[in-house]
Each structure stands twice: as C-alpha cells, then as structure tokens.
C-alpha cells in the first residue's frame, strides 16, 4: 500500500525527517509513537501533501505510484485520508456540502456517477450514526463552533463517508475525554477493513487500548528507531522514550 524510503524532509531549512523507512501493507494498522517534536505530524502531513515541507531525499510510493508527484486532492481521490490534529473551521460552508463536493470529486475521478443530494443524505445519515454524531452537525458550518471532541468525531465521520484506502489519524486522541475517546475509537474500529490501512500517530498508549495496532514504531529525532508489535507500546508506556534513544546511541557507538 505505502512504501516510504529513506525520506528526508525539512521545514524552513530545519531538518525534521532524517531517513524514514516505513512499509505499510493493505489492511494493516500501524501506530507511530514518539516524543514531541520527533517528526510524527510532519510525516503524516507530507504523505497527505501539505505545503511548507521540503522533501530533500527519498521517495514515497503509494499503490505503486509516486505519491510526491501528486496534488493533495489527487491523493485524496486515490484514497489517502488525513484526520487532522487540528481540524479547521470554515465559516458559512455547510459540513455536508463540503463533504459532498469531496465525495463527488472522488467519484468523478474514479469514473463513477456523482451522488445526488438524496442518495448522499442517506449515506451521511448512516455514517453519522456510526460515529454517534448528532445529525444537527451535518447542516452546520465545517467545524464551526464545534468542541474539540466534536471536531475529532467529525473527522472520523468524514473518514467513514470518504472510505479511504489509507487513513492517517494524526493525534486523533488528543484533547478527548474518555467517553469521546471511546466513541472515536469505536468508529475507527468499525471502519477497519481488510483492504484499508490505518496509521495512527499518537503520544499515548491509551488509544491503542481501544484500537489494537498490528505494528508499533517509535519515531524520534526524525528516524524510526524501533519497531515491534503492540507490546512495544506497553513497554513505552511504562519506560518512556529515553531507553529507545539510548539503545540507538549504543547501536551507533557499536557500529
């Protein structure tokens, strides 16, 4: 599904990613953990195509295509979805209207017929139920006046409607109370599919209690220092990140 090879990237001349290698197969759930400022969000933003990052080396292939050569909307049409850490408000633009524009642009790209208003409403009502999002949110402005938890739930709702092949969840758990976390996690679990890959970027083990990952990676100083299964996350929870960094330092010394 996704192959990241030796990815180096900087922001305003500052090196953030220093050689990321990551391979994500279809249907796999990966968790990327790491301390603040390690480059976790940078990685998901680059995959989604946000401006302001300079890729200085390496490549990303997605479904066999050169992802970095594609516009952000093209990536979306091909099934890349980013659940934003800070979803933006767009005043006056109806939540459903925006989503319909996105869905139909994608369908058009795939050569499918665009959904009419009635079919689309039926679809969104169904999906809203899945993430326990009140229907009143559908007719409100995009994230306009939503609470932090509502914004995150709206992201998962959009994911449900857009049905991506690769979903990047950027700190979707941050700012959620325990009930909201459970609702969001349940929503994501309902969206797990054999052909759908999910990448969760998070600080905390907590989210992984609800969404069980197949793989856990530790990202620190712009590199993936360690990969393992879900037990790695538990170890991180009890021991912190420093020991991983120390191991890496020892490894470099030994080499």
């Amino acid at each position: 599904m996704l192959k990241v090879k030796n990815l180096h990237a900087s922001v305003d001349g500052k090196k953030i990613l220093k050689g990321i290698n990551l391979e994500i197969g279809a249907g796999e759930v990966h968790a990327i953990m790491g301390p603040n400022g390690s480059g976790k969000s940078t990685l998901s933003n680059i995959i989604a195509g946000r401006d302001g990052y300079e890729v200085t080396a390496g490549s990303i292939s997605y479904k066999g295509k050169d992802l970095l050569a594609m516009e952000p909307e093209e990536r979306a049409w091909e099934g890349v979805f980013l659940a934003f850490q800070y979803p933006v408000e767009i005043a006056g633009v109806n939540n459903t209207y925006m989503l319909k524009a996105g869905v139909n642009a994608k369908r058009k790209h795939q050569g499918e017929q665009e959904l009419d208003a009635i079919d689309f409403m039926q679809l969104v009502k169904e999906k809203a139920k899945m993430v326990e999002l009140d229907q009143s949110f559908l007719s409100r402005g995009v994230n306009e006046g939503f609470s932090g938890g509502e914004k995150k739930r709206n992201e998962i709702f959009q994911m449900a409607v857009l049905e991506p092949s690769l979903a990047l969840l950027d700190e979707t758990d941050s700012g959620l109370d325990i009930d909201a976390l459970r609702i969001v996690a349940n929503g994501v679990n309902k969206l797990r599919r054999e052909e759908r890959s999910i990448v969760m970027v998070t600080h905390y083990q907590r989210l992984l209690d609800y969404i069980e990952p197949d793989f856990v990676h530790v990202l620190a100083d712009g590199k993936i220092l360690k990969s393992g299964d879900k037990s790695l996350a538990l170890e991180l929870e009890s021991r912190g990140y420093d020991w991983v960094k120390e191991e890496e330092a020892d490894r470099i010394k030994a080499a």
Binding site: V55, T56, L68, E73, M98
Partner: protein, 488 residues
C-alpha cells in the same frame, strides 16, 4: 542527493484564480445616435428636447447643472484614479433604431436581444420562465419593458423614467429629487443635469407587487457616461422587490457611471432593492474599467416602513457607493447587506449611511469585503442617531477576507449618537483565506480553485441569503466566475 521539491505542482497561489477573463466584455455593433463629447447648457437642452420633456424638468436639470459647476469632485474616498475630464464624455447615446421606441420585443433590434442573450438574460426566457419583469436599459434608452400588462392589472407602474415623465408627470414631479436633492453631491448633481434614462416604479396603496422587478443596465457605446436615474415609490402598505444587474463591454478607456437611485416609502411600505453589479473591472494592470460613482438613498417617510439594500459588487475599476437609509418614520427599519469583491487593480470604497430620525428605528449593516490580487477594499459606514430617535438600535458587522498578500482592506466606521437611549453594536473581523483551510478542503478531494470558491461563498452566505432565490444562485455563480481562473 537529488533535490526534490516536495510538491512541484502546487506553485499556483489562490489569488491567481481571481484574475479571470471578463465574461461580458463584448461590444454590440449597433448604429447609435450619439452626441459629441462635452457638457454645457445646450447639451442639456438637447437631451431634454430629445426626450420631449416638460419645461419644469428642463429647468430642474439646468438648475442642477448650474449647481454642479460650483462643486468640486470629492476625493475623500480611499480610491485612487486619474482625473476625469468631464468635457471628454458624451452625454447622450441611443441605439438609432430605437428613435420611435419599440412596442414589443418583436420590434427590438435582434442584435440587441442577442446582447442580452450573451449576458445570460434572454428576455423571452425570463418572460416565460422566471416571471421576472425586466426593464432593460441599453446605454441611455430603455428598450424593452416586459410584463407591463400584468403589472398594470395590479396597478403597478413599471416603466422607463422618461416614459413616466410623459405619462405620470404629477408623480414624477412630486417625488423626483426629494430623496437625493439635485445639489446633494457632485455626482448626484451631474446625474440630475444629464440623466438619460432609468426605471420608474410606483406601487399603489396596499399592493404587493406580484413579481420581482428587474432592470439590467449595460454601457455599450464608447466614451459615453451612463447616468441613469431610478425612482421607486412604495405607497402605504405596498411591497416590492427590485433587482438591478449591470455589465459593460470591455474597453481600454475608463467609462463613467454616475447613477442616482431614490426610494420613497410611506407608512408600512416595504422595498427590497438588490444590485448585482458586474461592470467591466479593467484589466490586471488597471487599464480601462468603469468608474461607478453612485448615489442610492431610501427615505422611510412612513411609520413602520422597511427598506433593505442588498448589493453584490464584483465589477468596476472604482466603486464609490453608499446606499443609505433615512429612517424618518417611527419604527422604520433599514438594512444593508453587501458583498464587494475587488481583484486585480480594482478599488472599492463602499458602505452605507443609516440616519435614525424617528423613534424606535432599527438598522442592520452586514458588509463582507473580499480583496484579492492588488484589489483595495474599504468599508465606510455612518450610523447617526438623531436627538429625537428614542430607542434606536443599530447592529453593524463588517468582515473582510484577504486572498493573497498584495491586497488591502480598510474599515472606516463613523458613529454619531445624539440620543442616550440608543443601542449600538459593532463587530468587525479581517481574515485571510488560510492555507490551512485550503489544504483541509483539498485533502477532502476538492480542487484548490473549488476550495477558494467554496470558502468565499461561505464567507458571503449571510448576504446571499438576503437575495431573491433566483438571484442568489446568480450571485453564487457570479462569484465563481469572478474567482475562477483560466487554470485547469
């Protein structure tokens, strides 16, 4: 190590989408009867004679002209343009074949009808489908007034003002210049002296006008100023919704448009006046375009009368326009909803005046300014609460949206309160179309261009909601046309 730019294709900036080509920039090739450039009393006599006007109107014009000669062009607005040579303008231009006046659409020069078709206002279609009566002003003479019969049955008078002068002289004489006096300001005085046509509407007592009334203005001939004059009178308990749309062909010279619109409202009357203005804005270097210097004012003479101005201003090189409400009657209500878009080198200084004189008068101002490219945008508004206006209320909201970083937005609110019981609220915001918002939309699969349109339309929603349904769609489309680039 190869130097990979992260995303080579996203080098376009959102403001580039705004420099679209002007859609209505075609010239209609029709023989016209045009006066040579220049302005003096003979020119005014000529205009008056052409229109077979009564003595009182000629004298009224001459008086306005003499007053105008003593006045100086105002320069307090936040706009910058070359000195206008008023002697280089031709003050009268009429399509020649119209000398005898058309009796029906069939008599209208087919080329003229074609022009309207190009503008997307096929008269026939509107007649049959939309149920909108259109008084089309082509240069200076009204060429087609549809639906007259149906309106006549309702007692509504809707005709070119020159015809009203002939057929309803008492009404015209009673109200003309009583809202915007001849000496009100430089451009109003000029208009009073040389106005050539415009619309006249009278809605009698208790009548709800059975359809939306609409006028399309278009400046066609080279170097002609268009000075139309509109007078709308809503008698007691009457209601009318009126829309004017404006376009002009593309020319390198600047053309002057100095209109006057007067609205009179008696007790319990209501007028909704909407403008969709899409005059030629000039090119990206600021060459050509319309100077749109317009005086619009509503006089709420009656108690409980209500006027609402809604404007969507996307065209013109320079816009200088402050549709105002004089809230004279007790409990009268004034509203102003505005969307102004300036792109390329366009400049707009626009806003409103709310003059509260009666008791418990209420006014609402919602202004949305969008600046892109090198566009300059100013909101200028006056709210005056007179000393007898007990319980007056005003709510003002003016928001500016900037696209790119070479444009500007300015706000000049003036408030004069002479009555301690007044309630005033003012909100103002300035925001930029965020990269974040654009990226968010694009991540959801919406192209950058569509995303800009969506965000701008969302920003304007409060105002578009005030437009009549069919025109709200048109306004939406117009904003899209205005913002869409030749990209893709």
């Amino acid at each position: 190590m190869s130097d990979l730019s992260f995303d080579k294709k996203t080098e376009r900036k959102p403001e580039e989408f705004t420099n679209n080509e002007y859609d209505a920039g075609f010239v209609t090739d029709i023989e016209t009867d045009t006066l040579p450039p220049g302005l003096n009393e003979d020119v005014i006599r000529h205009i008056s004679a052409k229109k077979d006007e009564p003595e009182w109107l000629l004298n009224w014009r001459l008086e306005a002209f003499r007053h105008w000669q003593t006045m100086t062009e105002p320069h307090w607005a936040h706009v910058d343009y070359k000195q206008i040579d008023y002697q280089a303008i031709s003050y009268y231009s009429a399509p020649k074949s119209q000398e005898d006046g058309p009796k029906s659409l069939d008599e209208i020069d087919p080329k003229l009808l074609e022009t309207y078709d190009k503008l997307g206002i096929p008269l026939r279609e509107q007649e049959f489908l939309a149920g909108v009566a259109v008084d089309a002003v082509f240069d200076s003479v009204s060429v087609a007034t549809t639906f007259k019969g149906k309106l006549k049955d309702a007692g509504v008078i809707f005709c070119p003002i020159s015809e009203a002068v002939r057929d309803y002289p008492e009404l015209v004489q009673q109200y003309l210049g009583t809202v915007v006096p001849t000496g009100d300001n430089f451009y109003a005085a000029l208009n009073s002296a040389v106005f050539t046509d415009g619309s006249f509407v009278y809605i009698p007592k208790g009548v709800r006008c059975p359809m939306e009334l609409s006028t399309y203005f278009r400046i066609n001939a080279l170097n002609t100023g268009q000075f139309e004059r509109t007078l709308i009178i809503a008698d007691e308990g009457a209601y009318v919704s009126y829309l004017e749309g404006c376009t002009a062909p593309q020319r390198d010279e600047n053309q002057l448009h100095a209109a006057v619109v007067e609205l009179v409202l008696l007790d319990d009357a209501q007028i909704k006046y909407a403008t969709v203005q899409n005059w030629y804005p000039g090119d990206e270097n600021g060459v050509g375009g319309i100077y749109n210097f317009v005086t619009k004012r509503a006089d709420c003479r009656g108690q409980r009368s209500k006027v609402s101005w809604t404007q969507v201003e996307t065209g013109s090189a320079i816009t200088w326009k402050y549709p105002s409400c004089v809230l004279r009657g007790d409990d009268s209500v004034g509203e102003f909803y505005s969307v102004a878009l300036t792109k390329m080198r366009q400049e707009a200084d626009t806003g409103t005046k709310m003059i509260h004189i009666g008791k418990n008068t209420k006014s609402t101002i919602v202004s949305k300014g969008i600046a892109a490219g090198h566009g300059q945008q100013a909101y200028r508004g006056l709210v005056r609460i007179g000393k007898n206006a007990d319980g007056a209320r005003n709510f003002t909201q003016c928001d500016s949206l900037l696209i790119g970083d070479t444009c500007g937005a300015h706000t000049f609110p003036y408030v004069e309160v002479k009555n301690p019981t007044a309630t005033m609220e003012h909100e103002a915001t300035t925001s930029k179309i965020g990269e974040d918002q654009l990226f968010y939309c694009r991540q959801r699969g919406i192209s950058e261009e569509d995303a800009v349109n969506m965000i701008v339309n969302g920003f304007c929603k409060d105002v578009f909601n005030e437009l009549p349904m069919e025109f709200a769609v048109e306004a939406n489309r117009l904003m899209e046309v205005s913002l869409e680039g030749a990209v893709g």
